[in-house]
Symmetry: D2
Subunit: 347 residues, 4 copies
């Protein structure tokens, strides 16, 4: 098969990283996948994490990260499912080595310094970091396909952000939303979104039979949402909640429209915007997405309800946080970067 590439993945331990390893391992255009490990992280812990489902781990090999090693194996694309700080320090080196990079962390998503401060980055650290920050492409293929195709560094979006931006972008572009009135996203996520580290918060007994809100008014994803949608922080309220399910996100979004609008106009707006987009499904009223419809798929499912008076709109947006919200979107970005069909390796 022509156009096959060699890839390497660092961080196949967290939930998104394991999902990404699985997807890349089965991708028809991926000729080789090298699994990398960071210094100080043993092969065994990686193997245990990645292949806990496997009766034995023979045949898997984790290589220490080494640029010469990647070069010898003719790796073209590096995927990072690493913590923010690790991505922030590794990516400049990788780019300098001539690699293209898809980074799943929040390290390169934000253009404005005030938003980056939520991650504790100090841009003065290096000129390279400043330059890369401006060159990094926010990897939401439905919005920035052309830039992604040409990108050296793709910053894979956050899971909540994906569900919210895809729900709002068509309406904002069509200038239907009264932003000054305020936009509210009441979002709910499964526990894998909180990461793999065992904490009191992720203990089964804390989550089961429960619902809790957290990080109200100060969740890190706010920055990328307002930047990508080009709205003001003071116009946006975001309340994440922790659901007693392993995976999946629903965002219930509330907006006031600029003028009285018909249901059919809203639907047309969505359908026109997402015409030809493989991984967004627009539900016809009165049907609404549910989390389970999107689970184990790369879809972002969108539906809505309009008030009788035609002024108030409730949008429901669902994604699988580990697929369209992370690993699936990374593969979709890879497909765009190399000119393959967006559906490759994701069906």
């Amino acid at each position: 098969m022509t156009g096959r590439i060699r890839t390497a993945l660092l961080g196949a331990t967290g939930y998104a990283g394991v999902e990404l390893a699985r997807l890349l391992g089965n991708h028809p255009q991926v000729e080789k996948l090298l699994l990398l490990r960071r210094n100080g992280v043993t092969k065994d812990s990686y193997a245990a994490e990645l292949f806990s489902a496997s009766p034995d781990s023979n045949g898997f090999d984790f290589h220490p990260l080494d640029w010469g090693f990647l070069k010898r194996h003719e790796v073209q694309l590096l995927l990072l499912a690493t913590p923010h700080q690790v991505s922030r320090s590794l990516v400049p080196e990788a780019i300098a080595e001539g690699l293209r990079v898809i980074d799943l962390s929040g390290a390169w998503r934000l253009k404005q310094a005030k938003h980056r401060s939520a991650y504790g980055f100090r841009d003065e650290d290096s000129i390279t970091a400043s330059e890369l920050t401006s060159k990094a492409v926010y990897g939401l293929p439905e919005l920035s396909g052309d830039c992604i195709a040409a990108a050296t560094l793709v910053a894979n979006p956050g899971c909540y952000a994906t569900s919210i931006i895809l729900a709002l972008a068509p309406l904002l572009k069509a200038d239907l939303i009264n932003c000054e009135h305020g936009i509210i996203s009441d979002s709910k996520s499964g526990v894998s979104g909180a990461g793999k580290e065992p904490t009191e918060r992720t203990h089964f007994v804390s989550v089961a039979d429960n619902l809790s809100a957290y990080s109200v008014f100060n969740h890190r994803h706010c920055g990328e949402i307002v930047e990508q949608l080009n709205i003001s922080s003071s116009e946006f309220i975001f309340t994440p909640h922790l659901l007693p399910i392993p995976r999946g996100i629903m965002s219930t979004i509330y907006v006031r429209l600029k003028c009285m609008t018909k249901e059919s106009e809203i639907e047309s707006c969505y359908r026109a915007f997402y015409a030809g987009k493989r991984w967004v499904r627009v539900f016809a009223t009165p049907r609404l997405p549910q989390i389970r419809f999107a689970l184990h798929t790369n879809y972002c499912d969108l539906g809505f309800c309009l008030s009788d008076d035609g002024w108030r709109l409730v949008i429901v947006s669902c994604v699988d946080n580990l697929l369209k919200g992370a690993a699936g979107q990374a593969v979709q970005n890879m497909n765009v970067m190399y000119g393959w069909g967006e559906e490759k390796g994701l069906q």
Copy 2:
């Protein structure tokens, strides 16, 4: 013990009815509890429902509903956990027989005909129904304690409505909310709120690992919420969701304030309003209620987050839908009607 009364309960089969039977059976002021059954519903089906947890059902008796029977047993208070239509037709008779009534259905909650239409009631049916509608007291003890104490007919509030009204009443009374801007309640309920009837929607496989929104813009509880809060329907958006948990409700509520406000002012407003109220807990910031904190209690838990600019408020309100949202509140109403302490039988 002085002041003990004899009670009868019709409808100890649904989730709320069984919970109410349990509470009444252990209540120190309830001298006798007669369990009633409707014509055509066999004793066995009742017993099976109510006492499925019990190794045998000896000692329980379900009596057919018969006013003379209640009179002979000197029953003073009738509690109804019956469908709306059943309550609508039975209550006038019960009142005529000299009984006081607490009705857990939606039959008598609504003052305005336009809201009652959601339940399909035609008021022209009888003069008695019209009269009773205006005399019925909405049973939220924290708001209308005095009226409940004197009431003949108490309409026990809906579960969602309880969580929302208690969250908003203090702020509305203090005139802090900009109602014209709109009030949004994004609410989430456990499955027992959807009733005991097995349907595709309540099937375990439909609910588990899932979240779904329903009845957006047209849930029946909207009527009682806007009536009790004295706000306009067009100012209120209510989106209920079905959570994969057996019981519990969280309402996440979004309001714009009339002027820039401090966190301490919001907290003071709540604390002043609920001073001396046994069954509302106000959480100090930054702590927020979670559903599990309210489970198996009669509490309504309230907490909030204020935006940095002091204009936008997110309120989190949690109740156990079967206790403060139904059976527990019914017992609390009974306590108020008979002048016992509000905590009796609920600890």
Copy 3:
């Protein structure tokens, strides 16, 4: 692609049927899949069931069952995900029409009349039924691959039975088990195994936070287990339990060995028996299968613990009840019947 066939599926409404439609729709050797509906079952209810996850159902068509229609479309293979009685009456007609059949129900699994009585079949009904009963092949490819390859009618095994037979067959063949001592399978299944019909038993509130045993000593799957393993009913105890999860089965199986045995002998026995078998994974001690490792795969995962004295063995066997326990195994059987690789369409 050579060797592609045309298929038809009746019963794409239950959980297994929907899963099967999904698998067949993506199978590389299936040139066409016709979705059939029974008389009296409307297209809409089928579409709703099958495609509830889809934003619209355009492009799907359910055809009334009609042998001429199938002939005109050159259908070779009919798959039935129908109730037992429906399969019992339809299969003789289908075979007479020259079709090969894979039946997912229990209608044709049992050779002995005493076991069939659990399903209420009266064999005297027809000569054809008697003949077919003896010709039907029990479709467990790891045990009867050759017969399946030549079969006209394949009776797809039950989900519990699959997990138990695959765990015991290697040890029985090697004559390691003391059958007279008794074999016990304590099995646990997710709720999709109980079917799609909403009942009190499958209501979310009945299942969540719970575990219940049922059909102790008289579950229908006992018949096929003892027939396939060639053991006596009195030697086998089977206790199924309903787990609060949507899908997945674990059988924990207890046997006494004929003589003192080493762990390595048990493992060798399993590995030898399943050498080259694509869909059975033998776990190396001390690792044990868990339900989640098998979920969304066609694997049967097997592991075991041997007592220190070498006489008592505990075997743990996990399958996804909708895949290896139903639809996946049906596809695996199809692959064997047509000589394609066993993994086709199942990865």
Copy 4:
């Protein structure tokens, strides 16, 4: 009220300890409950654990453990919900100070050194420990009520052990069981049984939608089970499983009878043994206990199925692991030690 006592509790942080604090705080015979903290564990962490459900922690005080302090407050009874090693070292001091002690850990349950080795205790450490070991009473009130009444040190049983011993003791006493054939307990527990420490194993994503077996043939509770039932270790197989529920245990137990027996004989045996025992419920066939029936109660629920041939018996036993399996049983033991009714503070 006469006969009220003053108590102190160390370890109100784990799941059982918090439940115990709640029960003691509401117990009518407990005049005072002092909450103690160990050196190096701050008041804040205790308060956070114990009162996470409370909007504020005013009014609670955690005192450092100090024998003089307990004496000044006239504490008679010390309850320990502490790790095994802590109990092992503290109890001798407490006894020497004249206190009675109920210990919820495994420190004092085992009479035989070979079983204690599972906890890593070295008995040679002290003469006191050896003496105390022989004086400690295993606190299962249904079996050893008189010894508990007179005890200075009560070792509260393990949760699994409670469910298994209560299921088997009546049949063993009546000499109905063929022990040589082997006794098997396939047990399933909710996650609170695995403790409060966040680990990979208790992470929500590891537990949800899953079932896993663990510690097959070597769980610590085996020791107390075989000691209390006076059976041989080689006759007993115990397989615990981790259920995706917060609390509750079911043990499904398999025994061969000594002779052909009737259902009514089994039931009579259980009913005779537990006559007058408040906290054991025997289910009449064919009804079986389910975990949810026992949840939030102090009951041990017992039911059974007998094979048609009258030789093979399956027993189902359910408890709430935090109540009858831990804190509830501790209160029941306290009730027996002080001669109050067994139901005091547990209804």
